[in-house]
């Protein structure tokens, strides 16, 4: 293992080569965008989370005052923060496996299709380009307890559907089901991963007497595990940041906030309301940092656990 000084020296020594400068020139726009549009606002929000930042401070009518950990203490005492975190975790824990399982199922079907494969790939991907706002509105129409299509279909099988959009026990499940609408992107990733699995591995497994389930478990899953892991991370982060669909359905201008059930209050929705409806920017910034820390912890945990399950080709065994 090289020491830090040695490592740094080696890193700087690469700049003697023209290729290094060219490479950095290519990534410079991204670095600039990251610093100006992501890292900069993040640092600013960390500062705001320790202040009384609000309308008066935004407009320059009053100085921004340091309030210490007051906003963070308020996170602990605010009942809605707890509610919103519970809802967000509930949604993420259900929606991520559901999306992954369905996307994988669809990808496996598409991988086997010979005729009209292109048509079905496009058809299954199409819902992914539906605007999230439209999905939010569609949710209310599809899941209406009296006349919604979902309950109508359940009724054909003699199943009395629940009141999805008003019963607090069913609001989150309906959001999970609705989230499955946008599995097109995940499905395409899995499809590419499945196509990349060498055929000879299946042939060898079959010669050894492996049945389809065993082939799936011992060949397919390990070989596509990097893709599964990537989508697991990305979908988890997206789940923890869920906003648009839920806000449109339950908190947007149409409902004027009058619907706003606690069961649908996601963490980012509450953060948005604190910032832009109640103007508690300092508190909202503290909420944002709490969520950031949670996402980091979850992601690090996922990376640590993944070492046991993810198989990278070319890695030393």
């Amino acid at each position: 293992m090289p020491g830090p000084r040695k490592g740094a020296r080696r890193w700087f020594s690469r700049f003697t080569r023209a290729e290094t400068w060219v490479a950095y020139a290519f990534i410079l726009p991204w670095v600039f965008g990251f610093l100006a549009l992501t890292a900069g606002p993040m640092v600013a929000s960390l500062y705001f989370s320790l202040t009384n930042y609000g309308v008066e401070q935004i407009a320059g009518f009053a100085p921004t005052e340091y309030v210490g950990a007051q906003n963070y203490r308020q996170l602990l005492s605010d009942e809605k923060v707890r509610t919103s975190l519970y809802n967000t975790f509930f949604f993420t824990i259900l929606s991520v496996p559901a999306k992954m399982a369905l996307a994988l199922g669809l990808a496996m079907i598409l991988a086997r299709l010979v005729r009209m494969a292109g048509f079905f790939r496009t058809a299954f991907y199409l819902p992914d380009i539906t605007p999230p706002v439209a999905i939010g509105i569609m949710l209310l129409l599809l899941f209406n307890g009296s006349v919604g299509i979902v309950n109508t279909v359940l009724g054909w099988f003699g199943i009395p559907g629940p009141f999805w959009t008003t019963d607090p026990n069913w609001i989150k499940p309906s959001l999970v089901i609705m989230s499955v609408w946008t599995i097109g992107g995940t499905m395409v990733i899995y499809l590419a991963a499945l196509k990349a699995v060498p055929r000879h591995l299946y042939e060898a497994a079959a010669m050894d007497g492996a049945k389809p389930w065993r082939q799936f478990k011992d060949v397919t899953l390990p070989m596509i595990s990097p893709a599964l892991f990537f989508t697991f991370i990305v979908l988890t982060i997206a789940g923890l940041q869920t906003f648009t669909e839920v806000y449109t359905a339950y908190f947007g201008a149409g409902s004027a906030g009058a619907e706003a059930p606690d069961a649908a209050l996601m963490n980012v929705v509450y953060l948005f309301r604190q910032a832009f409806e109640f103007f508690n920017m300092g508190f909202a910034s503290a909420m944002a940092w709490l969520l950031f820390v949670i996402i980091m912890i979850v992601t690090v945990f996922q990376f640590v656990v993944s070492r046991r399950f993810v198989f990278y080709q070319g890695e030393k065994g």
Partner: protein, 453 residues
């Protein structure tokens, strides 16, 4: 009372008939400010108003003329948006005048984003007595007026006579003074078939109109100075318990709301036309929807009454305010004065009345925060158009304005409102009892005021 109003209106309307055209033409000329407008110049930047209907556009034209040809009025499309306005504040590039919900004025005033209109009122000699007191209170924070109010949107009960007849309910029992009788009428009018609600008896319209139900007791959800929330008062708990019971009679909020969400609220097949509701409290604009889409409906407009039988109504609406840092506060002041003036309202009311008459449609009145304008519109312009139910509704709506109240201004108005809305939703969803839920709302509202005062 109603007959007297109507009779007077008919007499005045008949006597004034010949002069109406000339009067409206004169009204179309902004006389009060035109003399001084010659000296005005510059650009007036408006935010939150945007082109609207004939009433909005007509007054905007009136106000533009009142400023004179030297003033360019920049009125971009779109309503008031908090995020966009915050961005304007941050960039130190605020508009000269903004149009927003009066419920938000207190919050911005408390955060010093708006200027008090004291000097504007003095310099333009704006007579505050012309505005309805409750609407003006809604924009008055710590004794200073921060906005000029526009519409009032008063609330009355809309009773579907056909449903009442079918259910064998005495229309007199559809009222809000006697809650026992109201609940009995609700139970008779509602209809549940195969476990599904197919008709709502009486919709109390909570959480939206919760302050109105609390006012039934004479109480408010927040103290007059806006600094002490009273969301868990005995009156508030009782109001929520009663209104919740009206919904429970339908088998619960789930069934109730799922059915209500299926209504064609703005269409020809609306809930009144299809007899999907017996009665409910509603804002004045809905008479216009019915008159346009289902003019044949058999309805009666009634006052929402308190426990003593006296009429009460809950004012909500928009207003005009000047942001701190506006470059042309003088022009903004003249603009808002013109927009809310009697002459502006009379001009657009006459135009709308004529338009409706040409189209063979009902004129259901304009209900403004300017009491003098309301009286003049009713006396000089309104004429019964032959549909008794709407003509009588207009009389009721004009009278209802006198009994208006508004939720007192609070620096945490938006959060207090959200606190009681959330509390009511928890009760409706069966998650908490009214008392426990309103206790939580009270804690949230107290914390919000502590943060914002």
């Amino acid at each position: 009372m109603a007959g007297r109003w109507k009779g007077r209106a008919l007499l005045v309307a008949a006597a004034a008939l010949l002069g109406l055209t000339a009067a409206s033409a004169a009204g179309a000329q902004p006389a009060a400010t035109s003399s001084s407008s010659a000296a005005l110049a510059g650009t007036l930047n408006i935010y939150g108003f945007g082109p609207g209907d004939d009433v909005a556009n007509g007054r905007a034209e009136f106000a533009t003329r009142s400023l004179g040809s030297g003033v360019t009025v920049n009125n971009p499309r779109g309503g008031f948006n908090d995020q966009a306005f915050l961005a304007m504040l941050a960039s130190r590039n605020v508009p000269d005048v903004v149009y927003l919900s009066r419920a938000s004025v207190g919050t911005y005033a408390a955060k010093r984003a708006f200027v008090p209109l004291t000097s504007c009122i003095r310099s333009e000699r704006i007579d505050l007595k012309q505005y309805r007191a409750a609407a003006l209170r809604e924009v008055t924070y710590k004794g200073q007026v921060y906005a000029l109010p526009e519409f009032t949107n008063q609330i009355t009960l809309i009773v579907n006579n056909e449903v009442a007849r079918q259910a064998g309910v005495n229309p007199a029992d559809i009222q809000t003074t006697n809650w026992r009788k109201l609940r009995a009428a609700n139970k008779k009018m509602l209809r549940i078939e195969d476990g599904k609600v197919t008709r709502i008896g009486f919709d109390p319209k909570i959480p939206e109109f919760f302050p109105l139900w609390v006012k039934w007791f004479g109480a408010d959800i927040v103290s007059k100075d806006g600094l002490t929330p009273r969301l868990n008062s005995r009156e508030a708990v009782a109001a929520l318990e009663f209104t919740h019971s009206l919904i429970r009679d339908h088998g619960g909020w789930d069934r109730f709301k799922a059915f209500r969400d299926t209504w064609d609220f703005f269409g020809r097949q609306n809930q009144v036309a299809r007899n999907q509701v017996g009665a409910w409290p509603m804002e004045s604009w809905y008479y216009n929807v019915m008159a346009d889409n289902s003019p044949g409906v058999d309805i009666t407009a009634k006052f929402f009454t308190n426990r003593r039988g006296g009429p009460i109504t809950f004012f909500q609406g928009n207003g005009w305010a000047i942001p701190r840092g506006a470059k042309n506060p003088g022009l903004a002041c003249k603009w808002m004065k013109a927009m809310t003036s009697v002459d502006a309202w009379m001009t657009v009311a006459k135009n709308r009345f004529d338009l409706r008459k040409r189209q063979g449609r009902e004129f259901t009145g304009l209900y403004t925060a300017n009491a003098r304008a309301d009286v003049k519109i009713y006396q000089d312009i309104f004429q019964p158009m032959g549909r008794k139910q709407f003509d009588e509704a207009v009389v009721k709506l004009v009278q209802a304005s006198k009994y208006g109240f508004a939720v007192p201004v609070s620096p945490a108005g938006a959060e207090i409102k959200q606190a009681y809305i959330d509390a009511i939703n928890r009760v409706l969803a069966g998650q908490q009892t009214p008392r426990a839920s309103l206790n939580q709302a009270q804690r949230e509202a107290v914390a919000a005021i502590r943060r914002n005062r």
